[in-house]
C-alpha cells in the first residue's frame, strides 16, 4: 500500500489535479500566516523573557512548556466557544472560516515558538544588550541585533511551530469545518479520505504534506544561510 500511495502522490502532483493543489495551497497559506502572526507576538516575548529579570519568569516558562502539550482539539474547543454564534465573539461570524483556523493555529504555535525563542536567546551572552545600551543603541536596535545573533535557532523555533500547525487536524477540522474549496486542508482531507476508506489517497495526501514541509524547510534555511 505504501508503494501504491507513493506513486499516487506523484501522480496527483504531476497530473496537476486542481483540487489537490488548492487543498495543499490552503494548508500552506493558512499555516504560514499563522506562523507569521505568531512570530510577531513570540519574538518580542521570547526576547523579553530571556533578557528581562522579573519575578514569576520561571512560572511563565513552566506554563508555556506545559501549554506545548495542549491537545489541538482543546484549543479548537476554546476558540469554538468564543466564536460560535452563541459565544461572546459570535457576531463576527468567524466560525467555519479560514480566519478561524488562523486564530486556532496561531494560539497553537505560540507556546512552542515562545519557548524555543526564549531558549535560543538565553544562550546569547547577556552582555550583548548591556553593551549595546552603553553604546547608545535604541531598544528596537537591540531587539533586531539579538534576533540576528540567534538567527539559526530562531529559524528552528519557527519551523517547529510550522510543523506543529501544518500537521494538526483538530483545530482545522473543528474551526474550519473541512469545507470543500474553502477550509479543506491537507490534514482534514486526510481525515475525510480515511473515513471513506480511501487509505491510499489519504496516505498520498500525507506524502504531499511532507513534500511541502520539506520545501518550506529548504527555502527558509537557504534564506537564512544566504545572510551570512
Amino acid at each position: 500500500m505504501l508503494l501504491q500511495s507513493f506513486s499516487r502522490a506523484v501522480q496527483l502532483l504531476l497530473s496537476g489535479n486542481r483540487e489537490v493543489f488548492f487543498i495543499a495551497f490552503t494548508s500552506l497559506q493558512l499555516s504560514s500566516i499563522s506562523i507569521l502572526i505568531s512570530s510577531l507576538i513570540s519574538l518580542p516575548l521570547g526576547v523579553l523573557l530571556a533578557f528581562k529579570d522579573f519575578s514569576g519568569r520561571r512560572v511563565i516558562i513552566i506554563i508555556l512548556n506545559t501549554m506545548m502539550s495542549l491537545p489541538t482539539v482543546v484549543i479548537g474547543l476554546l476558540v469554538y466557544s468564543l466564536i460560535s454564534r452563541s459565544g461572546p465573539l459570535g457576531g463576527m461570524g468567524l466560525l467555519f472560516s479560514r480566519g478561524a483556523i488562523i486564530i486556532g493555529q496561531t494560539l497553537l504555535s505560540l507556546p512552542i515558538i515562545i519557548s524555543l525563542v526564549y531558549g535560543a536567546i538565553s544562550r546569547i551572552d547577556r552582555r550583548l544588550p548591556e553593551t549595546l545600551t552603553t553604546l547608545g543603541a535604541h531598544p528596537g536596535d537591540i531587539f533586531i541585533m539579538t534576533l540576528k545573533e540567534g538567527k539559526t535557532a530562531i529559524l528552528s523555533a519557527l519551523l517547529a511551530g510550522f510543523g506543529r500547525v501544518i500537521g494538526e487536524v483538530g483545530v482545522s477540522m473543528m474551526l474550519g469545518g473541512n469545507i470543500r474549496w474553502y477550509t479543506r486542508t491537507l490534514t482534514t482531507a486526510i481525515a475525510l479520505e480515511t473515513s471513506k476508506g480511501e487509505f491510499e489517497l489519504a496516505l498520498a495526501l500525507g506524502l504531499i504534506l511532507l513534500v511541502i514541509s520539506f520545501a518550506v524547510n529548504l527555502i527558509l534555511h537557504w534564506l537564512v544561510k544566504d545572510e551570512r
Partner: protein
C-alpha cells in the same frame, strides 16, 4: 533580511483572499450525504444557476442540528425525523421538507456467527446478536444512524452495555472499516456501505424492514431566532432541491450503477 520581508509581504497580500463573501450559504449535513458524493453533483448545479456559494459542513446529525440551534449555519440537511420535528417545534427551524430517502442495513461477517440472516425484523436480529454476544460496533456519536440504532435496540428490549457492544464515536465509513477489521456486526446506511463495498468483506444480512427506512429532511434555520442567517438563500436552495430540477439530480445519481437516494419531494 530583504528576502524575508518580501516573503512576509507576499503572505499578507495572500491573506486578502481570506475574506468570505456575502452571497453564500452554510449548510450542516451528515457524513453520509457528503461521503456518497451526492453533494458534489448537487451543489455545483445550484451554484451555477444562482451564483450562491454553498459551504458544506459534514458532521453527524446531532451535531448538525446543534449547529443550527446555535445559528452557526443557515440550513441543515439531516436524517433523524424525530429530532428534526423537535428542532422545528422548538422554533429553531422554520419548516421541515422531505428531500429523499434510502435505507439502513445491518451488515456483518459472511459466515454470520450469530445467525441473523433469516430474520425479517431488524429488532429481532439485534436481539439474536445480543443473545449470542457477537461483536457489534455502534457509531456512538449521536448521529442520525446512531439514533436509529438506539431505537432498534429499544425495540429489541436490550440496553447493550456489555463487552461485545463497542461504541466507536466515529463516522460511518470509519465504523464499517472497524467492523470489517474486527469481523463484527454494524448498522449502516446503504449508501456508505455501497461506497465501501469493494474494500471490505462484510455482507448485507438484514434489509427491507420498514423500520430501516431512512428519510432525509431539509430545514432552514429560523431567522427569528438568529437574525443573521441567510434565510432567503436557504429557502432558495430548499425550493430548488425539492423542485423537479433538484429531485431529478438526486434520482439519477448513481454509484457503481446503484441508486443511492430516492427523491421524495414530488409524487
Amino acid at each position: 533580511m530583504k528576502k524575508l520581508y518580501l516573503l512576509m509581504i507576499l503572505l499578507v497580500l495572500s491573506a486578502a483572499t481570506l475574506a468570505g463573501q456575502s452571497g453564500e450559504l452554510k449548510m450542516a449535513t451528515t457524513t453520509s450525504t457528503e461521503n456518497s458524493g451526492l453533494l458534489e453533483v448537487l451543489i455545483p448545479s445550484f451554484e451555477k444557476l444562482t451564483g450562491i456559494k454553498i459551504k458544506v459542513i459534514a458532521v453527524g446529525t446531532g451535531k448538525a442540528l446543534a449547529l443550527g440551534r446555535s445559528g452557526d449555519v443557515d440550513l441543515v440537511l439531516v436524517h433523524a425525523l424525530k429530532a428534526e420535528q423537535l428542532f422545528v417545534q422548538q422554533g429553531y427551524g422554520v419548516k421541515r421538507y422531505n428531500v429523499m430517502h434510502n435505507d439502513f442495513v445491518i451488515i456483518g461477517p459472511a459466515d454470520d456467527p450469530a445467525g441473523i440472516k433469516a430474520q425479517k425484523s431488524a429488532a429481532r436480529a439485534l436481539k439474536i446478536i445480543g443473545a449470542a454476544e457477537s461483536s457489534f460496533i455502534s457509531r456512538g456519536d449521536d448521529s442520525g444512524t446512531h439514533k436509529k440504532e438506539i431505537e432498534l435496540w429499544q425495540q429489541a428490549g436490550i440496553s447493550p452495555k456489555e463487552k461485545w457492544y463497542k461504541e466507536a464515536g466515529q463516522g460511518m465509513g470509519a465504523v464499517i472499516t472497524m467492523a470489517d477489521a474486527l469481523q463484527a456486526y454494524t448498522m449502516t446506511d446503504r449508501g456508505t456501505y455501497l461506497a465501501l463495498q469493494d474494500k471490505i468483506e462484510l455482507m448485507v444480512l438484514i434489509e427491507g424492514d420498514p423500520l430501516l427506512f431512512n428519510p432525509y429532511g431539509i430545514i432552514a434555520v429560523n431567522p427569528e431566532k438568529h437574525p443573521h442567517v441567510n434565510y432567503d438563500g436557504a429557502t432558495g436552495f430548499i425550493e430548488w432541491l425539492t423542485a423537479p430540477a433538484g429531485q431529478k439530480i438526486i434520482g439519477s445519481f448513481r454509484k457503481k450503477g446503484e441508486i443511492l437516494f430516492y427523491p421524495d419531494a414530488i409524487e
